[in-house]
Each structure stands twice: as structure tokens, then as C-alpha cells.
């Protein structure tokens, strides 16, 4: 190993480490105002995003424990962008928070864990990354320190998380026992549809399914999303989920390729149940965060449809969708986050006549919801369309039809919110809010993403050229 390689390949991780250490140093130093700190941190995150795009290398380190390529670098950049947007949107919440620095240190640590997970070339590395990305998250969920709901959510999160990692680790050990290795490259050649290996795979899959909240491993989602601070809810639903999905796609398509028939069937079951359950629950939610939790469960179901195509388009369609999903979901969450931090209102019924008092936020929310629902020409439509096309390549029209039918159901509940916002009368609507500039910029970025990603085909083309063909 040449030292040079180390710096090039691990550039993005080193950047994060650098930021973490810098924040620790600031912590020991003299006190600064929260405002100036927030500007500094957002600036650092912005630099991090920009630096991430420079010179993506391709290669591996530590005897294939860690590897990277332009696609992996792109995935990490997407997560960087998402984190930056969330940070900007949380400005008004964090401004008055006592433990600002700890918040960022924990959040960036989880991001670091995700990066290692995405770059892993070995199950051990993968597991380390996964744990690094979940344990600090439990602390973050608890970050509304004075709220009981927040602590309850954290408790539920850490318990469920521990349970799922335990089973995942059990699966990993079974895989090790039956194949004799933990390195991806070697596992593949020893896999078959042996019952023990299928069982091991199911345990492994359940660990993923837990993280991306696929049904029936999703139960923690709603409670945790509801209790956690909005910033963390959006972080969980976008960044954490996105990272696991990236790993999921690549692991299924490469490491578990010999079990393709098995996981194809499992994804079929999981995607149908996930879409349907997610939608059914989303219909009747009144808490906005809970609503977004269930609607994001349904969105994951669509992603699973795309993955089950296991075609040349599968990887590209998933990554493209996640990218769009980052902007659309953060657009919606951003509005909820701002409203929640300034007024404390989190119910959908509070949003009646929202348009009269806050036209700007209403439009952002509407466009984001349209994109999530998949109404053309918002980007979300193209994302879903490609997922369906990728899924259709196996010719499974039943799955496609169910997915498409559920798209209609989802129109109903997204439209319902838009209707409340614009049309329903309300005696005490949310007052006219002054949005901090930095959060406004973040919302504009989301808006831009939603509009441009759909119409500007270069983005998809770029992802497609990077995606490996199986």
C-alpha cells in the first residue's frame, strides 16, 4: 500500500474525520455563539461536498477491506449533499440548542460509518460501518432532550436496532461458517441454495430490511420518526436509508448473485407488502412526521421493485431514484422542520389554509409532494418510471401492476395534503413565518433538484455510465 493511495481513496472519509476533530477542538476552546458556529459548520459541510467531487479514485485498500470507485464516490457525495441540506434546514432549531457541537459530531460520525459501509469489501467492515452509523443515531434521536417522546423514541430505536444487528450478526456468522470467508469475493463462489445458507441470507436480509424499513421489519419506523427531532427524522428517512440501499443493491447484485432466484422471490414478497402496508398506513395519519414515515416506507417498496429487476438498469434506477428522493423528501421535511421549530405544530390539520399565510413554503411543499407522488413533470415521476421499467425487465407484470396501482393510492393521500394547504378553511392558520436565509437557500436547492433532475437527462446518463452491468 502506498500512502498516496490511502489519501486518494479514503479522501471522503478523511474529510469527515477532519471535520469531527475540528469540532472537538472547538468544543475545548472558548465559547462561541451558536450562529457563528452554525455558519462555520455549514461552510465546512459545503467544502466537504465540493471536495467530494474532486478526483474520484478507483481501487482498494487493506487487502480489499475498503474499496472505492467513481460510483461509490458519487453515492457518498449524494449523502454529503443531503446532510448539508438537512443541516441548513435545521438552522432555526439548532440556533437555540445547547449541544450544537455534539449534534454535529454525532451526525458526522454516523455519516462516516455509512461511508465505510458503502466502501466495504468484507462483511466485517460492513458490520463495523453499520454499527458506527446506528449507535450515534440513537443518541441523536434523543436530542430533543427535554421531550419525553424523544427519549422514548431513542429507547425504541436502540432496542430494535440491537435486536436487528444481533440477528444480522448471526446471519454473518452462519455465512462465515458455511463459506469459510468474510471477503465478498470469496463468499460468492461458495454460495448455493443450501437451507442453512438461505436461512443465513434471510437473517442478513432482515438486517437490511430493518434499516430501510421494509415490511414486516418496519415497525420501529413510525414511532421513532414521530418522536425524534425533525432534523433527525429526515436524516433517518433520507440519508441513513439511502446509504443502506446503496450497499443493498451492490451486495445483492454481486455477493449474493448465486442466490439471485431466492432474493428475487423475497424482494417480490417484501416489495408488495411494503408498498401496500406503507400506503394503507399513510392514508390515515395526521401527524406529518408519521405520515412522511409511512409514505417513505411505501417509497422503499418501489425501490425494491426496481432492484428486483436485477437488470443493467437496476443499479442506475435505484441510485437515480435515491438522488431524487433526497431532494423531494428533504423539500417536504424542510418545510415541516421549519414550521415545527418555529411554531411547534406538527399535525397535518394544522396545515389547513397554510397557503394564505405562507405561500412560499406551500409551493415548496406542494412541489415536493407532487414529486414524491410521481406526478410528471416533477423529477419523482421519472425516478419511479425508471424503477418500474427496471422492474419490468423480468416481465413480472403482476408486481408492476400492483406497484402502479399503489401509485394511484398514494396520489390520493399526497393530494389530500395539498388540498388542505390550499383549499380548506382554518380559523387559526399557522402564522406567517420568517424563514432564516440559510434554510430558504436549502429549500431552493431542493426545488432546483426536483425540477432539474427530471428534465435534465445528463444526470441519469452519468449515473448509468458509472453503473456496472450485470
Amino acid at each position: 500500500m502506498i500512502l498516496n493511495d490511502f489519501f486518494i481513496f479514503m479522501k471522503q472519509e478523511l474529510m469527515l474525520l477532519f471535520i469531527i476533530f475540528l469540532l472537538l477542538l472547538i468544543k475545548v476552546g472558548k465559547d462561541r455563539s451558536n450562529e457563528s458556529l452554525l455558519y462555520l459548520i455549514n461552510l465546512l459541510l459545503l467544502i466537504n461536498v465540493i471536495a467530494g467531487f474532486i478526483l474520484p479514485g478507483e481501487g482498494s485498500l487493506f487487502s480489499d477491506m475498503f474499496r472505492t470507485n467513481p460510483l461509490i464516490a458519487l453515492e457518498k457525495n449524494m449523502l454529503n449533499i443531503g446532510t448539508l441540506i438537512i443541516s441548513m434546514q435545521s438552522y432555526s432549531w439548532l440556533k437555540s440548542h445547547k449541544h450544537l457541537l455534539e449534534f454535529y459530531i454525532l451526525m458526522i460520525s454516523t455519516l462516516l460509518g455509512m461511508f465505510y459501509m458503502i466502501s466495504s469489501g468484507n462483511l466485517l467492515m460492513f458490520y463495523l460501518g453499520l454499527e458506527l452509523s446506528s449507535i450515534p443515531l440513537a443518541a441523536l434521536v434523543n436530542f430533543d432532550l427535554e421531550k419525553k417522546a424523544s427519549s422514548e423514541a431513542a429507547m425504541k430505536f436502540i432496542l430494535s436496532s440491537a435486536f436487528s444487528s444481533g440477528l444480522l450478526l448471526f446471519g454473518v456468522s452462519l455465512i462465515y461458517g458455511t463459506t469459510g470467508s468474510l471477503a465478498y469475493a470469496e463468499i460468492t463462489s461458495h454460495l448455493s441454495t443450501d437451507p442453512l445458507q438461505i436461512f443465513a441470507f434471510v437473517l442478513f436480509l432482515a438486517g437490511f430490511a430493518f434499516k430501510i424499513s421494509a415490511v414486516p421489519f418496519h415497525f420501529w419506523t413510525a414511532d421513532v420518526y414521530e418522536g425524534a427531532p425533525v432534523a433527525i427524522t429526515s436524516y433517518l428517512s433520507v440519508i441513513s436509508k439511502g446509504a443502506v440501499l446503496f450497499v443493498f443493491v451492490s451486495v445483492l447484485y454481486t455477493v449474493f448473485k448465486p442466490l439471485a432466484d431466492v432474493w428475487y422471490g423475497m424482494l417480490f414478497v417484501l416489495s408488495i407488502s411494503t408498498i401496500i402496508i406503507g400506503n394503507l398506513f399513510a392514508i390515515r395519519q395526521d401527524n406529518f412526521k408519521r405520515f412522511l414515515a409511512f409514505s417513505s416506507i411505501a417509497q422503499v417498496g418501489f425501490i425494491l421493485v426496481g432492484i428486483s429487476g436485477s437488470s443493467s438498469m437496476g443499479t442506475a434506477a435505484v441510485i437515480y431514484f435515491v438522488l431524487i428522493y433526497i431532494f423531494s423528501n428533504l423539500g417536504a421535511f424542510g418545510v415541516v422542520s421549519i414550521v415545527s421549530s418555529l411554531t411547534g405544530k406538527e399535525r397535518i390539520s394544522d396545515y389547513k389554509s397554510f397557503y394564505k399565510t405562507n405561500p412560499f413554503l406551500s409551493w415548496i411543499l406542494t412541489i415536493a409532494l407532487f414529486s414524491l407522488a410521481g406526478v410528471p413533470p416533477a423529477a419523482g415521476f421519472f425516478g419511479k418510471f425508471f424503477l418500474l421499467i427496471a422492474g419490468a425487465e423480468k416481465g413480472n407484470y403482476l408486481l408492476i401492476s400492483i406497484a402502479a396501482l399503489n401509485m394511484i393510492v398514494s396520489f390520493y393521500y399526497y393530494l389530500r395534503i395539498v388540498k388542505s394547504v390550499f383549499m380548506e378553511p382554518n380559523e387559526s392558520p399557522i402564522e406567517s413565518l420568517t424563514i432564516p436565509l440559510i434554510s430558504k437557500v436549502a429549500l431552493y436547492i431542493c426545488l432546483l433538484g426536483i425540477v432539474i433532475l427530471g428534465l435534465w437527462s445528463v444526470v441519469y446518463d452519468y449515473i448509468f455510465t458509472l453503473s456496472p452491468i450485470f
Binding site: M155, K156, L159, S160, F163, S164, L167, T193, P195, I198, F199, V202, L203, L205, A206, A209, F210, P216, F217, F219, W220, A222, D223, D261, V262, G265, M266, V269, I277, L280, F281, I283, R284, S312, M313, V375, P376, P377, F381, L388, I389, A392, Y397, I400, S401, A404, L405, M407, I408, V409, F411, Y412, L415, K419, F422, M423, S457, Y460, D461
Partner: protein, 643 residues
């Protein structure tokens, strides 16, 4: 033809207007935004007419066929080496005609709205939405490939949603807009799956290539799509039928028509634009676009035929029982579109066989003029009496002479009385149906009679029977800007039938010789006349119409009256049988069963959702248990399956 710039301007002008008015209209130039939009669209309309004229009469024909021109085309998204989504503009007889129809009707509506919508607080928003709608409709007909069309198709849906829901203070308008949006979404879902099936097998999204590949029995794509089958029906038929479902949703064909009557909640000029001439014919246009493939698949074409014929009849029967004048017009539109659909269904490809296709397009063309005229006329009436109900009208001919005359022309045109426009096109449709399918022909014949009846029922109820009591001050017939479109459209409803249509748009592009067969026309015209006569008898005067006549003719009249029992029979048939035994039940069925079915499916979804909420108990141990069962279930299932 170096016209790519001009032709691109046609859709771009409304788009620019939309952006301009949408962003700045309300703040800076609310009151003149109507003028801006009208001028911009006027220019667009002039361009369309001149381009269509150039194309039809001065472009080169190869073997007598007008060539398709694609002035603008670029690859927008490359899926895989073989499959790409293009964006482009196509100019062929079909799209050239649609361009003229859309821009022209839209222009008329723009002008009419200047007076009709005057004083609305959101005047600029209204024109912005109108422009957006026009843009998306133009984009739809100019699409070079099916995916591009789908996108504009959705955009048309969104913009019509905005227009129908324009009066968003009115809960009924909001509900109607939502209903229209959701019902057509269901249909669009069919369309999308249809596109996926067709493009998956044909490996292309381009209309031209799609048609070439799927109509060549030797091509690999054709073999692939006919080889696959589901439930005993080939994938080709599935694909086409699904695409047709999309069209049926937009065109309000049974049973996806339920949104149309409710959509009348929008401003009336909007109904003239959306529900008469443009959006509702999108489905017909779609089938016509893919017609060469439909011809190849008789099963799909049969579906088109019977859905069309049934919708035509059903809507005509329901129209007889409605008292809201806009609803009468809505059902009448549905009925006329049924005519266009089954005309396509009975058509073959090429030569005399293709008469139905030509007739359908001809009817689309003439219908656009007289139906938008009817809607605008109805708009003028509603503007005056502030009600949609027939009961609040009557004797209006004295108050609004221009509306009266133009409305009469439109009624004669839709009834198929020569020499008005509707006569020629309906004649061709009936001829085509007569040669291809006698059942459909008789349905159509009967429906024509009904059409004349309900249209004149409407006409007499508005303009003759009784005397309306207008409240103190009223603004007369409306502004000049409301009268001008009525006059122009009236003239066109009179003469549009003389356009040598069969020379211009036919199924295979070769000019077709058609002639009006006097003997054949006798029956449908007679049917229409009978329909009108019944309407005169029943609706021209309020009641006691026979009193004056009876006293003059004394016993003779009474004898003949009693002897022939003409009125009794008419009354019995229309009032008792049609109204009570057919019309009412059909209307009831429509309202309670079909509507209810849609409502129920929503209710069931909500109920299921309510019942499973117990799973989400909030207890972590419960969650862990489900988690565990999930793992065990999956393992057991797949270990069983794979060993």
C-alpha cells in the same frame, strides 16, 4: 419547408404567456393579462393556420400521400443503446388539423373570457392556466413519441385540474376537480402500463417506428408481442386495450365517464375548451395516432367499437333527463365522442375501407366548432340568468338574439341537418357503420334521433318556452368580446362541413372520394327531424299549446288529436318509457352503482387501513416478535421452495 422555428413557436408562445402571467400577472398587470394572453395565442393560431395551409395545399405529395414532417427532434434520454426517449414535433395531416382546432377554439375561448371573466380577482391566474392548458394540449398532439405524449397527457390532466378547480372557494368545484384528476389517473395508469408493454416488445417509443415494427408480421418485435399472452389474450391486444383505457379516461367513455358531468363546475368557457374541443378528444386522437396498429388487432378494435357505441347511446339517453344545461351538453359531448370512437372501431385501413377513420376525424373537426359554440352560448345564457337550470330560463330569444341564432345553428349542426357542418361528418360515420356493422349502425341511427331531440329540448327550454323574469338590472347579452366568438363559431358551424376533408386526412394518406348519397341520408335526417318535431311539440311552449289551434279548427283538431293520439304516444314514449323506464334507471345506475363502486373502493381501502392499525401498537417487544416471525416465515417459505 424551413418552418421549424415557426412551428416551435406555436406551443412556445402559450408557454411563455403562462410563465409571464403566472409569475407576474397578478401583481403587475392583472387587468390586461387577458389581452396579453389573447394576442399571444392569436399569433400562435395564425401560425397554425398558415402552417396547416402550407402543409395541406403546398407541400409535396409522394404517390398522393402527404409526407410526415418532423421539423424538430432531439434525443432527450438514452435508456439503452436501442431505446431512447426523444422530444420532437411531428407535422402530419392529423397533427396539423389538431393544431388548427386547438389554437382556434382556444383563441375563441380566450376572447370570450375577456368579457365573461371580467372583474375576477384572479383574472391573470385564469389566463395563465388557460395558456398552460393550451400549451400542454399542443404538446400532446405534436408529440413524436408515445412517452412524450404521455408526459403532455399528464400535464393536460394537471392543467385541467387547475382550471376545473378554479373557483376553489366552492367545495363542489374542488370535489369535482379532485374527482376528475383521480378518475383520469386510473385511466392513465392503464395508459402507462400499455406504453410499457408496447415499448418493451417493440423496443422503441417512437410512433413511426412503433407502427412500422408492430404492423410487420415478419418483424422480430411483432413475433415477440404476439407470442406472449396473458389470460388467453395476446400482449399486443393487452397493450392496445390498456392504451385505449387511457384514452377512454380522458375522453369520458363508459365506465370512466363519471368525472365529466361533475367537471362542469369549472368556469363555462373552460368547459368549452376542455370538454368540447380539446382534452376530451385526446383519447380519439390517441387511438387515431396508433390506428395502423389497432387495425392489425381486431380484438382491440372491437373493444373500441362497442365501448364507443355504448357510450354514445347511454350518454344520449341520460342527456334527455338532465335539467342542468351544462350537464346536457356534457353528456352530449360524451355521446358525440362515442360516435368518433366507434367510427374508428368500424374502420379498416386504406381506400374505401378507411372511411370510418376519415369520418371520425371529420366529426372531431366539425364537433369542435359547434360544441364549443354550444358551450359558449350556454355560458352567455348563464351569465345572464345566473343559473344552470332550465327551469330558470325560457323566452330568452328576445333578450339575446345573437346567442339565440348561433345556438340554433349549433343545434342544427349537431342534429345533422343539412347543410350544417354536423350533417356531413355524421353522414360519413353512419355510412361507415352501415357497411361494417349493422348493430352499431342502428344504435347510431337511434342515437342521432335522440341527439336531435335532447338538443332541441334544450334549445326550446332556453329560448322559447315561457318567459323568464330577469332581475331588475342585468347586463344584456354580454360584451362585444362575448358576441364575436359566437358569431365566428356560428359561421364555422355552418360551413365547416364543406371542407374537402376526405382529400386531406385519411387512414392511409391517399385522398378518398366521398359523395353524399341522398337516399342513404334520408333516414338519419328523417330521424333527426322527428326528434326535433317531438321536441317542438313538447317544449316549444309552456303548455296549452293546442288551445289556440284547437279553437280555430274546432272539432276537427280535437278528432284528429284524439284519433291519432300522437301526443299521447310521444308523451308516453318519451316521458313514461324513456324517462322513467330507461332514462331514470340509467341515470340512477350511473349515479349510484358506477359512482358508488369508485367511492366504495376508496372506502374499503380506508377501512382496511383502519383495521390494521392495531399492529402498530407502540410496544417494542411486539415489533421484535413481528420481526422474528418475518424472518421465520421468509426462511421457511424459501427453504421449502428451493429444496
Amino acid at each position: 419547408m424551413n418552418s421549424s422555428l415557426y412551428i416551435s413557436l406555436i406551443p412556445l408562445l402559450p408557454l411563455v404567456t403562462f410563465v409571464l402571467l403566472g409569475l407576474f400577472g397578478r401583481k403587475y398587470f392583472n387587468s390586461i393579462s387577458g389581452i396579453i394572453a389573447t394576442f399571444s395565442l392569436g399569433f400562435s393560431c395564425l401560425l397554425s393556420i398558415s402552417i396547416a395551409y402550407q402543409y395541406f395545399f403546398h407541400s409535396e405529395r409522394v404517390n398522393g400521400v402527404l409526407q410526415q414532417i418532423i421539423p424538430v427532434k432531439f434525443t432527450w434520454l438514452q435508456f439503452s443503446p436501442g431505446l431512447s426517449i426523444d422530444m420532437g414535433i411531428v407535422l402530419d395531416p392529423l397533427s396539423a388539423m389538431m393544431l388548427v382546432v386547438i389554437t382556434f377554439i382556444s383563441l375563441m375561448v380566450h376572447i370570450f373570457s375577456l368579457g365573461y371573466m371580467k372583474g375576477e380577482a384572479r383574472f391573470a391566474t385564469y389566463y395563465a392556466f388557460l395558456s398552460l392548458f393550451t400549451f400542454s394540449m399542443l404538446g400532446l398532439v405534436m408529440s413524436t413519441n408515445i412517452f412524450q405524449m404521455y408526459m403532455f397527457w399528464e400535464l393536460v390532466g394537471v392543467s385541467s385540474f387547475l382550471l376545473i378547480g378554479y373557483y376553489f372557494e366552492k367545495p363542489s368545484a374542488v370535489a369535482a376537480a379532485k374527482k376528475a384528476f383521480i378518475v383520469t389517473r386510473f385511466a392513465d395508469l392503464g395508459f402507462l402500463i400499455g406504453i410499457l408493454i408496447l415499448s418493451f416488445h417493440a423496443q422503441t417509443l417512437d410512433f413511426q417506428t412503433l407502427i412500422t415494427r408492430l404492423t410487420d408480421p415478419q418483424s422480430a418485435q411483432y413475433l415477440s408481442i404476439t407470442a406472449g399472452s396473458l389470460l388467453g389474450v395476446s400482449m399486443l391486444t393487452w397493450g392496445l386495450v390498456l392504451v385505449f383505457i387511457g384514452g377512454a379516461g380522458k375522453s369520458a367513455m363508459f365506465p370512466l365517464h363519471i368525472w365529466l358531468p361533475d367537471a362542469m363546475e369549472g368556469p363555462t368557457p373552460v368547459s368549452a375548451l376542455i370538454h368540447a374541443a380539446t382534452m376530451v378528444v385526446a383519447g380519439v386522437y390517441l387511438v387515431a395516432r396508433l390506428f395502423p396498429i389497432f387495425v392489425f388487432d381486431s380484438a382491440a378494435l372491437t373493444v373500441v367499437t362497442y365501448v364507443g357505441a355504448f357510450s354514445a347511446l347511454l350518454a344520449a339517453i341520460i342527456a334527455c333527463t338532465q335539467t342542468d344545461i351544462k350537464r346536457v351538453l356534457a353528456y352530449s359531448t360524451m355521446s358525440q365522442i362515442g360516435f368518433m370512437m366507434f367510427a374508428l372501431g368500424v374502420s379498416g385501413h386504406g381506400g374505401e375501407e378507411g372511411l370510418g377513420y376519415m369520418a371520425s376525424m371529420f366529426h372531431l373537426f366539425t364537433h369542435a366548432f359547434f360544441k364549443s359554440l354550444l358551450f359558449l352560448g350556454a355560458g352567455a345564457v348563464i351569465h345572464l340568468v345566473h343559473s344552470n337550470e332550465m327551469i330558470d330560463m325560457g323566452g330568452l330569444r328576445k333578450h339575446m338574439p345573437i346567442t339565440h341564432i348561433t345556438f340554433l345553428i349549433a343545434c342544427l349542426a349537431i342534429s345533422g341537418i343539412p347543410p350544417f357542418a354536423g350533417f356531413f361528418s355524421k353522414e360519413e360515420i353512419l355510412t361507415a357503420a352501415f357497411h361494417a356493422n349493422k348493430v352499431v349502425f342502428f344504435i347510431a341511427l337511434f342515437t342521432s334521433g335522440l341527439t336531435a331531440f335532447y338538443m332541441f329540448r334544450l334549445y326550446f327550454s332556453i329560448f322559447w318556452r315561457g318567459e323568464v323574469h330577469l332581475h331588475g338590472e342585468h347586463h344584456g347579452e354580454g360584451t362585444l368580446s362575448m358576441k364575436i366568438p359566437l358569431i365566428i363559431l356560428g359561421v364555422l358551424a355552418l360551413i365547416a362541413g364543406f371542407v374537402p376533408f376526405s382529400q386531406l386526412i385519411t387512414s392511409d394518406g391517399i385522398a378518398l372520394e366521398t359523395h353524399v348519397d341522398l337516399l342513404f341520408s334520408l333516414t338519419p335526417v328523417a330521424m333527426a327531424v322527428i326528434g326535433i318535431l317531438i321536441a317542438i311539440r313538447l317544449y316549444k311552449t309552456e303548455n296549452n299549446r293546442s288551445d289556440g289551434v284547437a279553437s280555430a279548427f274546432g272539432g276537427f283538431y280535437h278528432a284528429s288529436y284524439k284519433k291519432f293520439y300522437v301526443d299521447e304516444v310521444y308523451l308516453f314514449i318519451t316521458k313514461k318509457i324513456i324517462f322513467n323506464f330507461i332514462g331514470r334507471p340509467v341515470a340512477w345506475f350511473d349515479k349510484n352503482i358506477i359512482d358508488e363502486l369508485m367511492n366504495q373502493s376508496a372506502a374499503i381501502t380506508a377501512a382496511v387501513s383502519e383495521n390494521i392499525k392495531g399492529l402498530q401498537s407502540g410496544k417494542v417487544q411486539g415489533y421484535a416478535m413481528y420481526f422474528f416471525w418475518g424472518i421465520l416465515g421468509l426462511s421457511a417459505l424459501f427453504i421449502y421452495l428451493f429444496n
